[in-house]
Symmetry: C2
Subunit: 234 residues, 2 copies
């Protein structure tokens, strides 16, 4: 299925594709709600009123992106709550395992964790019908928070080598926890997994696996570039 | 001064008026940031995903209203952080004294406390130049949250008489704490106070005091109507 160009018609004619898209919109929507919640909590911890206001603004942006995903689900006649429910546990577990202990860890979590997930979903989006792809890319392509977080983290890392070591360690832990939860979702949600992974029975399985390899390499390269941007080794 | 019709020119020619307006925008701005923060925290406590999403949406609306106030301060060449700073302590103290113990108390706090403050500031806005008045009324006149909260509270109150008693008591405590913080602000910020209170030395002081009395009666009547809306005595 991997080489087929999808169209919006597949959302009604191909039940497995439709299920996969509903899962994708559901996991992204709940992810945005979680991002909203965490950034709002970080806003409450912010060291200055200006930082508090900046985080509140970014949190509100996440909420608006949640609304775009919710509206897309409603337009597909899907109850957003039903679409999100399968992802509540994995996302809550991920966040429970990676609760930041302070303001900088909170920033790093959004800068490292949310963006690696966003880059991954941008790769998945390449396999979607154009309408769904636009909705997804508008959400995962948002960069309003990145520059703010990078500037804050870079200055903290440069001011104290112990901070650099702590944030580097924290980032590795975030990536590990994200991979472990991703693994769980891959196992539990075959339709979602199938949006991205090729049909291993098909004649061009080898070429498709190569394409997946390149796609994952892009995600890792972008992660490394972001770490380098804040003067850290990935 | 109470009967003078203000114009935007007063913002540059009358330093006391300008100070009062900066205070007003500052207290409203920090109030919106606090409202954002509390609604976001309530979102984290919400009993269902739909309630979580609803609260997140209202929190994002509060943040957008904060931005309108911040932008107005910037347009007046005022540092928003400087304008907000005098109100950080009184607002944080108010919120510390009235930390909700659960989801319903959080809703009631916004429904009772935020709206009585908004109604009061709407009365103050009548004494402002038209440009500032529009900014303030757009912020304090927002009703997106009210209908949602009223519906939730009314159904909780009707389902359990003990809830009714608890919310009625909680509401009186909120009003008491709000009046006590308002008293402190009145004492500490004379320019802000003077926007609303008449010049007691002037020839028409008695008429102006009557007008203030009517104005406060309107605020109280609206509060009573909101309590009645959720089947409670004020």
């Amino acid at each position: 299925m991997g080489t087929v160009e999808r169209t919006a018609a597949d959302l009604t004619t191909d039940p497995e594709y439709r299920s996969g898209v509903i899962d994708l919109l559901g996991v992204l929507a709940y992810g945005e709600l979680m991002a909203f919640e965490r950034m709002a909590a970080d806003s409450a911890l912010a060291p200055t009123i200006s930082d508090k206001a900046a985080l509140a603004g970014h949190a509100a942006n996440e909420e608006r992106r949640f609304e775009a995903l919710r509206d897309r689900l409603l337009a597909m006649d899907v109850d957003p709550e039903v679409a999100m429910t399968p992802f509540v546990r994995p996302l809550e577990d991920f966040h429970a395992q990676t609760a930041p202990s302070d303001w900088l860890e909170g920033l790093a979590k959004a800068y490292v964790g949310d963006t690696i997930a966003a880059d991954f979903y941008a790769e998945v989006a390449q396999k979607l019908d154009p309408e769904t792809r636009d909705v997804v890319l508008n959400v995962v392509g948002a960069t309003d928070f990145l520059e703010y977080a990078a500037t804050q983290l870079e200055s903290a890392v440069q001011s104290d080598p112990r901070v650099a070591g702590r944030i580097a360690l924290w980032s590795r832990r975030l990536v590990g926890a994200a991979l472990s939860e991703a693994q769980r979702v891959v196992e539990d949600r075959p339709a979602l997994t199938h949006l991205y992974l090729p049909d291993l029975e098909g004649p061009d399985a080898a070429a498709q696996l190569d394409a997946i390899g390149l796609s994952l390499t892009r995600v890792i390269d972008r992660h490394n570039a972001r770490m380098k941007r804040i003067q850290l080794e990935a």
